[in-house]
Every structure is written in structure tokens, then in C-alpha cells.
Symmetry: C2
Subunit: 434 residues, 2 copies
């Protein structure tokens, strides 16, 4: 078997055999298949695709390129959740303790990546002392003891994906459904799960701008999960405007705590509850959405979910008192309000523009080397459907650097569309299962 | 401009601008665009193509990646010939002195490449002392003095092609019409020509197995030539069986000399005359095929063409006496005859099988490091249309190594198809001009 033969097959639209795919991924991981050969192969995959059988093997080969976790000793059902990412998407932070408080174990492993704001781990690391860098032993012990853990990906997990992602990023093959799906699923399936819930975001602030591609991505990932024997359910959820009112890092922790107290913003709470309920059902804890919702409302009302969040913060080295005292979190030194130029109803708050503004403030990373400023961010004072009076605040910027705030303003001034009548779109677009 | 942006454009089927293509080729030549980026780009080009405008600029940018020759001081018309290559294709060797003897200057530069037998230069280098490695000064001086020169490509000529060809070879993007065309034409156009004749081979022994792809390749190269302002004419010629009776290196020199004496085999002479006549017309020496043919017959009958071949051999360091005494050329130590298993008419001699047999004997190169054995080869005693009696010789192997001869035999035993009625196919399929 040679790399050229396999590239030629895929180039000519043929399917690769299971043996060929395993040989390719293994050889690429150890470096006997070169970066330039894999670049030609991924472009051929981008343009000619992978069928369902190829994709299942490709994902499995990626997963087996490194360590695969084994949580046999944990008797609870293990379910995780993954989001394709959006602006203000902090859903995992309240969701994980809520679901864990109901008896599901969640071994959540996230990448950091690049984005308009930090990822879940960066947001959590805005909590003083909190670390997402856990060795295998500590990771397992926190999971066993508390039923939840939220950590970064270790070097030994799916090394093929780290290598392949960097290559795709440099060679124009990132937005390929089979390559995205296998990248996400290889990492999630390496977590030894009983079930997986996927939140596939659709809209201006999401990677997938249109519903058709998001649906294809969702179906593809659900198919990979099924082929692997891990029940996987995907939700298509709207990401035209940011989720919640806060876009930043520390500020999103504050808002997550509000959800855990039962007084979070409606949209954020809705998405969190839908995904959390699905996880309870996948974990076999409840067998109907109604029962799952009641159970989740209980652990919120009783304070168990919030208490568990405090516990895991402490277990991961953080100051658990942030759950009662948000002033312990980093805060930006300056504020500035963007005001409504006219009165009317907010018809749209462009998530992408808000994301770019947050990036300008320093809330996100443009390159891997960038550091995140955890205290900066944007508070949305008016969201879609709200009525605003001329001169009322649309957004409040929290910033540390005047130049960066200046750079953020043009994005914010264009983000709001104000019209005469209110609009409303469903947040949850569809549920897709195997 | 970034490599990723350009890869994405081509990936999505868009056309690249002239500036983008020039930047890409220049950056790849100096190495700021990496091999893995160019591998993704060439796969995108393979699958999405280049339009005529892109291809003209791509070729021009390749040509300008290194030195471009300038023969302004040579007052004769400069015309060259290029063949896409076939088994037993020694046409250039008799053609160049014939055409030069009629007053056309031919600055022929060839690559060596890989193949079933050596290339034109390897065949010439079977002449004792002959060298195809000439520096610029010697190249130009031989061309000025004799009106012809046949040399290898220097490092400084089209470096982008050397780099890109090696990459394509390792990444499954060799058989792409735009990439083949630009590779060939960038090297030929760097020779500062007034005209170019292309021999595009079609058939089992050629790179292009079917007439449709050969026609597309021919039209594409003619289009590039026209866009560059160099009148280019392509011929589609058949390559189902080897050209002439000799397949090897030294043996093909002997057969080339026969053509120059006017007693070469019919098929080889026919192709040589057609291409040579076209070159005389492109060079403005004659204005009709009939006149050109008469002129060519004259320089053969008078011995001028053969004499000029002797001169250039001597100018390039070789022993000119080979033209009168073929025993000065290397010869293999052993012979073996393959005999006809039945009587009948030869319906086919599979060029690819003969090529593989020649490669097995050591006449060609499988890798760049392989050395060629100049004395080995195959003499075809019976070709398509010939009648043979059972037990009569079909081929004679000249070999130095018994194991290699053993390895060649199975190919030879399958190469001849003998049937009841003779067949005949036209050798010259078509002529394509701008």
C-alpha cells in the first residue's frame, strides 16, 4: 500500500477500504505519510467526500491514533455534550453540573481553539485558581468523586486530529463535513461514553451559516456515533444572535451561575434545559422530557446543581466562593454604552458582529499564542424582540484598553437592526437521532 | 494574499487572477508557500481545472521561475519538437539533424525522467563520449555554429517545474491535463522559439491511452503556445505498438542513423517526415508539405543530414564515426529469440508490454538513481500487419543478465496477438493548430 495509490483512489471518487484508511491515519500519525501527501488526500476528501462506512472507519482510526479512555469503574451512565460553537454559547457551564446533579457522569474534554471569545475552558479558567489542565489520574479521580469534570485535551488523546487539524487549517480544508465530523466525533468517542448530545449551531454567529449544511453535519455525526455504538442525538439550534446577554469570559460565568440559580436569561435557559433533558434520557435517568425537566428544575430549586458546580470548581483548584460572590471574578476597568440611534423593536442582533467586537476587545484568540483578557466583554442590553427607546443602551462594553474599545465600536454600531414590528424565531430548530 | 485564500478559491471552483497565480508560483519556488499547501492546490487544480487564461499565466509564471533563454543573436528561425513519449520513440534523433540541415535552428532541451527505455538524451549518451550536460555558453556556441544542439535541462531552467513535478509525483496529481501542459510548455517556451511541433502519442504505449484525452492535451498545449505568441502545432500519432523495430538505447541510435540514410523503417520514417516537414513550414523555410518533403528528401539523399548528425555528435564530445560504424556502440553480450507460437498475421504488438520487457532488461529507469544499460534492448522481428510462420522469430532480446532476461520474457510472450487477417491503423491521427 502506498500513499499515492490511496490519494489516486480518493481523487478518482472511489471509496477507500477499512484497511487502507487505518493504514493512512496510522502512517500519518507516525509521519511515514507526509504532510504534503495528507494535504492532497484531504483536498480529495473535501471535493469527493467519504461515504458512511469510510467515515466510521476514518473516525475510529483517528480515535485509536492515541489513548482511548476507559471508565469501566464508573457505574453511572456517562454522557457528554458537544457544541459546534457560537457567540455567547456558555451552555456547557450550567448544563454539566445540572445533569451531573441528576446522576449522569460527565467526563467533558474540550479543546481550546480559536474564537471570538474563549472556549468553555477559558471561561472556567477566569475563575481564580481554576485549572483545566488535569493529568489522567486527577481527571479520573474528580470524575469518580463528583460525577463531573471539565478538562482540556491531553497530548495523548487523538494525536492524529491535532496534526490533521493544523494541516487542514493551513491548506483550506477546514469546512468539510466529513473532516469536521470525524474530528469532533473521534475526540468525543475516545471519552468512553454511553451517550452523546450534539448542539449544532446554525446562523450568522455559527460555523454553519445555513440550516441545510448544519443538518448534514448533524446527521453525519449522529451516523458516526451510531456506527460506533454510542447513542448520539443532535439538536439544530439557532445562532443568529448571541445566547444570553453576556459575551466574554468571566461575565459568562456570572450568567451561567444565574442559570444554575434558576434566573438565567430565557434563551440560554431554554437551550440548556433541552440539551440537559436529552442527556438525562440518554443516561436512562428519566424516560420522558417532562420527567427530565422536572428533575432538572428540582436540582436547581434545591441548590444541588449550584452546589455541585462549587464542588467541581474547588476540586479543579478554583475559588468556589465565586458562586456566591461574582466580584471575585476578574473585571474590566472601563465601561462604555452603545445607545439606540432610533426607537423601535430590535429585529436582529448580528452574532458575528458581536463576536468580532468581543474579539477586538481581547475576549478571544486570533492565534494560538494570543492570551485572553478574562474581564472584558459585551453586555447586550437589548435583544431580538425587545423594544428600545432612542438613546437607551443597546450594549455595554467592559474594556481595559481604549484602542481596543475603539476597534470594537464599528462592529457594535452595525450589529443592531431596529424596525417597527417585533420578530421572533424558534431557538430549537430540530432534533436528529439515529 | 495568502496561500489558504488561493487554495480556497480554487477548491470552490473559482478562477485565480493573474496576480494570484504569479504570486503562488513565485512563493512556491522560493519556499514561502509550502509543499503541503501546493499539494492541496494541485489536487484542487486536478479536480477543478484551470481555464485557458489561468493556464497561460500559470505556464508563463513557471517559465519565469528561472532563467529564460535568449537567442536573439541567432538569425535562423528557431523551432523545436516535443513528444509526450512512447516505446521506441526515437523520432527526435533523426529529425533534428534533418530539419537543421534545411536551415532551422533547434535548441532542443530535454529532461531525463523515468521510462521503459531511456529518453532521447540517454539514447544519445550511448554514443561513446557524447554528453548532454552542456553549460549555457557551450550550448549557445554549438547552436550558433551547427544550428542544432541536444542537451539536458540545467538547474536554472524552470526550477518551479522541477519542484512541482516531484511534489505531483508524490501526491497523485501527475495525470492532470493543465498540470502536464504547463509543465511541458513552460520548459519549451523558455527556449525562445519561433515555432513548436508537438507529437502527442495515443495508445497502449503512451501516457494518454485514449484519443479524447490526447486531443484535449494537444489542444491545451497549442492554446498555451498561441497565448504566448509561439506558433504551436500538435500531431496526434498512434502508439499502440513501438515505433520502428528497435527498443533500447544504442540500438535506437543505429535505427535513427538508418532513417538519416533513407532506409529506416516505414512507420518511424513516416512520423519523422511529417513532424520535420511541419517544422520547416513553421520556420518559414518552405510553404507547402510537398516542398518541405522534397527538401527533406534532398538533405537525406545528399548525406547532409547524416553529416550534420556526425558534426553535432563531435561537438558534444562523442565519437562521430558511429554514423558509419555501429559496432562502436555498446552491445549486449547475449541474444535470445522469442518465436511465434502459431502462424498468422500479427494483429497487435502491445507497446506497453514491450516497454515493460525493455525496463526489465535494464533499458530504462524506474527511479532517478537507476542507471541505464545502453546495450540491452529488444528487436521486433514482426510488427502489426506482418505475416509470420510458426517458430519464426517475433523478437530478439539483447541482454547482459540472465535473470533480467527471464523477467522480461513473460511480457514479451503476451505482447503479440496473431490472427487470421491483417489489420492496419493510420499512424498519423490528426493535426491540431491554433
Amino acid at each position: 500500500m502506498t500513499a499515492v495509490e490511496l490519494i489516486e483512489k480518493k481523487r478518482d471518487g472511489e471509496a477507500l477500504t477499512a484497511n487502507e484508511i487505518r493504514w493512512l491515519i496510522d502512517s500519518y500519525t507516525v509521519g511515514t505519510v507526509t504532510d504534503y501527501q495528507m494535504a492532497a488526500m484531504t483536498m480529495a476528501v473535501f471535493l469527493n467526500g467519504l461515504n458512511a462506512e469510510e467515515l466510521a472507519v476514518w473516525t475510529d482510526a483517528m480515535m485509536h491514533s492515541g489513548e482511548v479512555l476507559d471508565f469501566d469503574l464508573i457505574k453511572k451512565p456517562k454522557v457528554d455534550k458537544h457544541s459546534t460553537g457560537g457567540v455567547g454559547d456558555k451552555v456547557s457551564i450550567p448544563l454539566v453540573p445540572m445533569v451531573a446533579a441528576c446522576g449522569v457522569a460527565i467526563p467533558m474534554i474540550s479543546g481550546r481553539g480559536l474564537g471570538h471569545t474563549g472556549g468553555t475552558l477559558d471561561k472556567l479558567e477566569s475563575i481564580p485558581g481554576f485549572t483545566a489542565s488535569l493529568d489522567r489520574e486527577r481527571f479520573t479521580s474528580i470524575l469518580e468523586q463528583h460525577g463531573l469534570v471539565m478538562a482540556g485535551q491531553s497530548e495523548s488523546l487523538v494525536p492524529a486530529d491535532r496534526k490533521l487539524y493544523a494541516l487542514r487549517d493551513a491548506t483550506g480544508t477546514v469546512p468539510s463535513i466529513p473532516l469536521i465530523s470525524s474530528s469532533i466525533m473521534s475526540k468525543k468517542l475516545a471519552e468512553d461514553l454511553d451517550g452523546l448530545v450534539l448542539d449544532v449551531k446554525v446562523g450568522s454567529g455559527a460555523f454553519m451559516k445555513d440550516e441545510a449544511s448544519a443538518r448534514t453535519l448533524a446527521k453525519t455525526m449522529v451516523g458516526i456515533g451510531s456506527a460506533h455504538g454510542t447513542t448520539t442525538v443532535a439538536y439544530l439550534t439557532r445562532m443568529n444572535e448571541p445566547l444570553g446577554h453576556e459575551v466574554g469570559n468571566a461575565s459568562e460565568i456570572v450568567e451561567s451561575i444565574a442559570v444554575l440559580r434558576g434566573d438565567g436569561p430565557a434563551d440560554l435557559t431554554e437551550v440548556t434545559m433541552v440539551l440537559a433533558a436529552e442527556m438525562l434520557m440518554l443516561g436512562g435517568i428519566e424516560d420522558s422530557t417532562d420527567a427530565a425537566n422536572r428533575r432538572l428544575e428540582q436540582v436547581i430549586a434545591s441548590g444541588e446543581a449550584l452546589e455541585l458546580f462549587g464542588e467541581v470548581i474547588e476540586a479543579q483548584g478554583g475559588n468556589r466562593h465565586v458562586i456566591d460572590d461574582p466580584s471575585l471574578l476578574p473585571k474590566a476597568s472601563h465601561r462604555f454604552e452603545v445607545k439606540a440611534p432610533i426607537s423601535g423593536f430590535v429585529r436582529e442582533v448580528d452574532a458575528l458582529a458581536i463576536g468580532r467586537a468581543a474579539m477586538s476587545l481581547g475576549a478571544g484568540r486570533e492565534t494560538k499564542e494570543d492570551s485572553i483578557d478574562p474581564g472584558v466583554g459585551i453586555t447586550l442590553n437589548a435583544k431580538t424582540g425587545d423594544s428600545v427607546d432612542q438613546g437607551a443602551p443597546l450594549a455595554t462594553l467592559a474594556f481595559n484598553d481604549h484602542d481596543r474599545a475603539e476597534a470594537a465600536l464599528p462592529f457594535l454600531r452595525e450589529a443592531w437592526e431596529i424596525g417597527e414590528a417585533p420578530t421572533r424565531q424558534e431557538l430549537i430548530i430540530d432534533r436528529i437521532d439515529g
